[in-house]
Each structure stands twice: as C-alpha cells, then as structure tokens.
C-alpha cells in the first residue's frame, strides 16, 4: 500500500440508470484520469449503480469552509418567502 501515498486522490461522480444528474459517490486513488475512471467502474458500479462516470482530482475541488457555515447558510432560515410554497400547483406539474 506504500504506493498509495504517491497516487493522487480522485472524487467520483456516478449517474445512475434512472438519475438525471451525476452524484458524488466517493473517492479513490489513481495515477491519471483514465485509471481513475476504470477504478471507479470497478469499485463503484459493480452492482449496476451507474451508466456514466465523472472523475475529478480532489485537489481541483474548492469547498466552502465549515466554520463559515453560520454566516453562509443560517440567514436563509427565516426567508420562508423564497420557497415557492405560496403557489397553487396544477396537478400536471410533477416533481416540484
């Protein structure tokens, strides 16, 4: 497993058969994108989980800081008027 330290980490996104978008499913190690896709195929799609794979090197993902969560997300809590709950939805509109 020593080599693992030298292999970069990749984040894996899988689109399921029925899903419309790719969802983050986990991460793995690989030396390049090609190997990352093949490893993802072997690790994350062996039970028919998906029909399409995206991989991105973890270092290329930029995330918001957990300690800023209060400032970033809490203010939305009392802005109930931003939800479309005040409209009558026709029956024909599904999946809202």
């Amino acid at each position: 497993m020593a080599n693992n330290k030298e292999w970069p980490l990749w984040e894996v996104f899988i689109r399921s058969n029925t899903g419309l978008d790719h969802k983050h499913v986990g991460s793995l190690h690989a030396v390049d994108a090609q190997m990352a896709i093949e490893n993802a195929r072997d690790v994350y799609t062996r039970r028919l989980e998906g029909v399409s794979i995206w991989v991105v090197e973890s270092k290329n993902i930029h995330a918001s800081l957990p300690e800023e969560a209060g400032m970033l997300y809490d203010p939305a809590e009392d802005k109930i008027y931003r939800h479309p709950t005040f409209y009558e939805l026709p029956d024909e509109v599904k999946y809202m």
Binding site: M1, N3, W7, V31, Q34, E38, D42, V43, R46
Partner: protein, 274 residues
Amino acid sequence: MNIDLKYISYLLQFADNSLILGQRISEWTGHGLVLEQDIAMTNIALDHIGQARAFYQYAAEKLNQISIEEQKSYFKSPSIIENLGKLDEDDLAFLRDAWDYKNLLLVEQPNGDIAYTITRSFFYDHFIVLAFEYILNHSKDLQLKAIAEKSIKESRYHRRWSSEWMIRLGDGTELSKKKMQKALEDLLPYVGEMFTHSKVEKDLLGNENLIDLESIEKQWKVNIKEVLDEATLSLPEEMPWMQNGGKDGVHSEHLGYILAEMQFMQRAYPNMEW
C-alpha cells in the same frame, strides 16, 4: 470416441480455462497492490468463474444426453464416473482430477508477482476475445454463441485492463520494465498451445463450430505487438520452444495444487452445500 463427446471435450477447454484462470486471479483477493486494483482483480476473477459456469452448464446438459457407457470411456476421475447421468456444473468443477481438465498450461501458471499475473492475463485476454469474435461470426451452435455474446463484453474489458497495465508497467520505471520483460519471456513458452490443435480439435477439423486457430493466431500477434510496442517491451527474435499438453489433459504440477485447494470442501464433505 463419440463425436459428441469430442465436441463436449472442446467446450470443456473453454470452461476449464475460465475456471482455472479465475481461481488463480482470485488468489490476489485481499492481497492486491492497492485497494482499487484488489477490487478490480476480484471482479475479473468472478467474471472468469461466471463464464466457466455457463460453459459447464452447457457441457453438463450435453453430457447427460450421452450414454453412461460412452462417458465412462472419456472420464478418468473415479468420483465423476460415479455421478454420470446426472451431472451438473459443480460436478464438472469439483469432481474431476487434473487429467480430466482441459485448460491451457498458461492459465495454471502461478501468479508470481504482478508482472506475471498481468502478462498471463494479457496473453489470454487477447486470445479469448478473438476466439469469442470468431464464434459470434461463424458458429452455428446457438448456445455457444449466446455464451460468447455475454462473455465477450467482460473479456474486452479484461483485455483493456491487462493491456493498459502492460503499457503502464512496461513503459514505467526501469525496474518495472525489467520485471515485465522477464515475465513476458518466461510466459512466452505457454502461448503456442493456444494456437496448436489438441487431439479432439484435430478430430473436429472441418466442424463449423471449431475456431480457426490459424487466423486467430495471426490477428493475436498483430494485436499484442501493438500493445508491446507502446509498452516498450519486445518479443525475442526467435520464439522459444512451446509447451503443450494442457488441452489434452497433461498438466504441470501446478494444477494439482490448484485443484487440491479448490476442491477440498467437496472432496472432504461430499454434496455439502452453503
């Protein structure tokens, strides 16, 4: 020997190749170089064993239609002879001794290091994909075609996996290249058997379900050369003397050890089930 038995013996070559190679690769489970490849190789081992099951089921079905007397002239292993007439896939896998196995010597070779394991698969994967393609294009045996159609998708992925690792490690570090070149040369004496007719294959010549080994060999050489060039590995100028016998049931000592481990439970506790 009954002509149907010869054809069944031919089918058993496919079944035994898949089972023994699958069993061999499964020895890596839990010992892979990295977690991801441990899972990849376990998947591949399971694919091979799945393909073996399909071939064994078909062979067993055909065997059960032949008279027991005639089958007795074919099998040498006492425990399978006791079960003739009602054979299933498990009997064929677990009750035959080495001389009734018809797999290539190549697939029973030890895992060695990862260079050997990949090179062994590389040689076999390129062969079996061409064999399945030939079956799909030429065979009139619908059941065989159905098995080939299902299997070829897996085998094409195996071929991609082993070819890419040939390239990564061949064109890798000085040490990895050296190890790959050595594995390549050490396993080369076992490739000739893939393209040499076994006794039953000779007897079946002219049968439309038989693979044309000559045409496959040509294509195989072109295909592996392409990968080896990219891997900066080279075949020796003169091919070595080729080992033969596996397809006729004459094996290296390795197969005995594989069977001893694989068949232990059925032998020690006959008819046991999970």
